[in-house]
Amino acid sequence: MGMRRWLDLAIGLVAILAPAGLLLADTVASAIPPYHHIKIAPGLVGAALPIDPAPSIARVLDGKFQGEYARLIGTLTPLYPLAVRAKNQVLWSVFGMPGVPGIVVGRGRSLLEREYVDEYCSRNRAAFRPLAMAWAPKLRQMQDAYEQHGKTFLYVITPSKVAQNPGLVPPNIPCAAASADRDGILPLWLQILAAAGVHTVDTVTMLRAAQVKYPFQMYPRGGTHWNSVGAALATREIAAALSRLRGDGVLPAPDIVWAMKPHPVWPDIDLDQLLNLMAMPRSDPVPYVSLSAKAPFGGCRALRIGIVGGSFMNRPAEDLALGPCAPQIEEWQYWSAYDINWPPGVDAKTGVDPAERDARVLDADVMIYEENEQLMARSRHGPDFYSFLKQQWGLPDAITLAAVKNDP
């Protein structure tokens, strides 16, 4: 057999046997502590933990074990992170597409979350109204319950990148909602909240008004959350609202100084990281803030702040924790997803211990409940929180809202 044929055979054998060899080596290595799985490329961001297939006769006979095992085996190979990143890089570089479901490439290569785009493009005030009319009284009940226990309750609405920048929605995504619905849903909600007497901080309108005063966008290209200036402005609003409600200045509103930095870091690149590419996309400079506030007249008091909401509250929580009176802040993301103490912050987040959470939620001096405008009156964490308070404190009777007649 000639040299070329031997070369053919060698290439074929390597192609067949090398991946299996790597898998075998990885399996052996991971069984020997303290070694971990061999990684050829950086680990994947946002990858779900592989399901451990549980073999049983029934699950083998109905094929479920085989399906789960087949899905698992690929994720165990050291090639897996490389394969995912390489595939995503080709899709991104050659076709300008994300390889990750749930991310949309908007105009100017700005990254958007699909669920935010879908929500914005399907807004309907008529469908929203009954949900809002049902939820606002419950927010008032939660607020009254906290106030009856001598505590403070504040409802915060945070903005959506898509709703703040609808021009980013790419032309290939139909955006059927009428502009009256897209723009009118928030004012309707604010009107209903006002009728219900809920203490509200509207950072959506605040941010839109603030945008014109700054020479940069309040949302980074590769991130889904507001940048640190947007978050700091929200922190100021929240601190001011809490001071008004409490009648003390224990949470002084900070002064904001910002500077542009050429290389954004997390969370301003959270969607870029979620793309799981071989090379991060280039980003424009992003502002970062330093905050300062004076200690209140009369000195600081220890304050425990609880936050139930989503990831938009991470930065405001960090900003509040760095204030002169350093309140103790604990955040329960989406009620049961993550438990984050500030400090140290999101790097030290843990799973939620329900018993611990239940005690501390009732113990907080201040409770901030947050909904992003993408979820307002429709969140899953809201009803869970409401049910808990009802069970623990027995909530006051719900108010009856008069029909909110005039659409804004």
Binding site: M1, R5, D8, L9, I11, G12, A15, I16, L17, P19, A20, L23, V60, L61, G63, Q66, Y69, A70, R71, I73, G74, T77, L79, Y80, L82, A83, V84, A86, K87, N88, V90, L91, V94, F95, G96, M97, G99, P171, N172, I173, P174
Partner: protein
């Protein structure tokens, strides 16, 4: 377990191939590697159906040794067809019977659903060829049960063909000889080609076609309807031919030569020619085991036309238990009859490119029926296609789908170009050209494997037939 899944690529194939390399030179070595591997391969996917197949194979084997007795051939065929009907058509038959019973004011039957085993249609057709080939004197009964089992369970062709008639494989089963390294290399290259076609072309095409067919047909614009049907036309060819490439390649690696299943079907200049180039193993099975027993070309013209139409009706039903498949079969049968009557003469008078274009339109209309979720959806889709001004939803194509469609269209239609065969042979005969093709294929295979690792599960179209 599909051929491009990590479990197959990284575990099953290396283990089985390594064992084969070690043992194939010994007497019986090939059988004792491939038979347990093939049975395990099918057990992995269909643990409950394998015992049924084994029992059915035992019946075939016993009957095969006694076919000189009257009625045993009919019994064997009936037993195999019954297995197919029970597993594949029970739901379809009872649903339609319930409609009739309901119309008559009677209570419905409400039969439970039976899970459709993967590859059942292919397996049953192959088992029928064993019995008929023995009866016709074309083959001898298998010398032992394990040889017959290997014929039925041979894993490269088990799930989605090609449908290999027993007489085509008999000699290779009985006198295997040594598998040459050249065959292993050639087989692996064919396998690589299939993997590249499936993961890099067929899968993006599937995503694009699914996006169109997910929209209610009445809401589609004419352009969107054409786009969706066009994508599916390319998808089904790339997907199915890719599987056949992998099956043929794997079989060659293990020393078996299987017949080709596709021969550039989209350059056909008539439906008659199309069915000589598309799913060749099925169309020759229909010819040899259905059309010829019905009389073939030896009966009166009206019987020929009826037989043709009935055969393709059966072919449509073989593809699936739904009226759309029956409709597609009837549609193809109609055009085969029309070819006999006048259409073939008419097309033969046209320039080849024009005849090819007309035939392609007929084929695409057929695929619209095949892919639709119901006859109503098929009708609505076809109506949209023939009304160019029809407004409706545009389904925005993504760049990867456009790229895959472009490459797939070129691959499918380029052989129609003048001098293509001469050019292709010239490139292959040129050592540097051959090296370049093989290098490109190897690199694309690496990309295909990485994509297969990274992609979520996407099954082959034909593996549920």
């Amino acid at each position: 377990m599909l051929f491009y899944e990590p479990l197959f690529l990284l575990v099953f194939l290396p283990v089985v191939f390594a064992a084969f390399l070690l043992l194939h030179r010994y007497s019986g070595g090939r059988l004792w590697v491939l038979l347990p591997a093939s049975v395990f391969f099918y057990l992995w996917s269909e643990p409950l159906f394998v015992p049924v197949v084994l029992a059915s194979c035992a019946l075939d084997y016993v009957l095969g040794r006694r076919l000189q007795r009257r009625g045993l051939l009919a019994l064997g065929i009936a037993a195999n067809v019954a297995m197919l009907v029970v597993y594949k058509y029970t739901g379809f038959l009872t649903d339609n019977l319930d409609v009739i019973l309901g119309a008559l004011g009677m209570a419905p039957i409400h039969a439970g659903r039976i899970a459709l085993p993967i590859g059942v249609s292919f397996i049953v057709f192959e088992k029928i060829t064993y019995l008929v080939d023995i009866h016709r004197g074309r083959s001898n009964p298998a010398p032992n049960f394990r040889t017959y089992l290997l014929y039925v369970f041979l894993f490269p062709k088990l799930l989605a063909g090609p449908i290999i008639k027993y007489h085509e494989l008999e000699a290779q089963l009985l006198t295997p000889g040594h598998t040459r390294l050249a065959d292993m290399a050639t087989g692996f290259r064919r396998f690589m080609l299939g993997a590249v076609k499936k993961t890099l072309l067929a899968d993006p095409l599937a995503t694009g076609a699914d996006a169109v067919f997910a929209v209610p047909a009445a809401a589609l614009s004419s352009g969107a309807a054409w786009w969706g049907v066009g994508l599916f036309t390319l998808q089904i060819y790339l997907d199915f031919s890719a599987y056949s490439d992998m099956a043929i390649g794997l079989a060659r690696m293990f020393g078996f030569r299987l017949r080709e299943n596709f021969n550039r079907p989209y350059i056909s200049c008539s439906i008659t020619e199309f069915w000589r180039r598309w799913h060749i193993s099925l169309s020759t099975w229909i010819r040899d085991y259905l059309y010829i027993p019905l009389g073939g070309n030896r009966v009166a013209p009206w019987r020929i036309y009826l037989n043709l139409w009935v055969c393709f009706l059966a072919s449509g039903l073989w593809h699936g238990a739904a009226w759309t498949y029956v409709g597609w079969g009837a549609y193809n049968g109609l055009f085969l009859v029309l070819d006999r009557l006048f259409l073939l003469r008419w097309l033969d008078r046209m320039p080849r490119v024009l005849a090819n274009g007309v035939t392609l339109l007929v084929i695409m209309a057929g695929w619209a029926i095949f892919r639709a979720g119901s006859l109503e959806q098929a009708w609505t889709l076809l109506t949209a296609m023939v009304h160019p001004g029809q407004m409706g939803l545009l389904v925005w194509p993504t760049p990867d789908v456009v790229a895959a469609a472009t490459v797939a269209a070129i691959l499918s239609l380029l052989p129609r170009g003048p001098g293509f065969d001469r050019f292709a042979h010239g490139v292959i005969a040129w050592p540097a050209g051959l090296f370049a093709i093989r290098l490109a294929l190897s690199l694309l295979f690496v990309v295909a494997v990485l994509k297969a690792l990274a992609d979520p599960f996407k099954p082959f179209l034909y593996f549920r037939f």
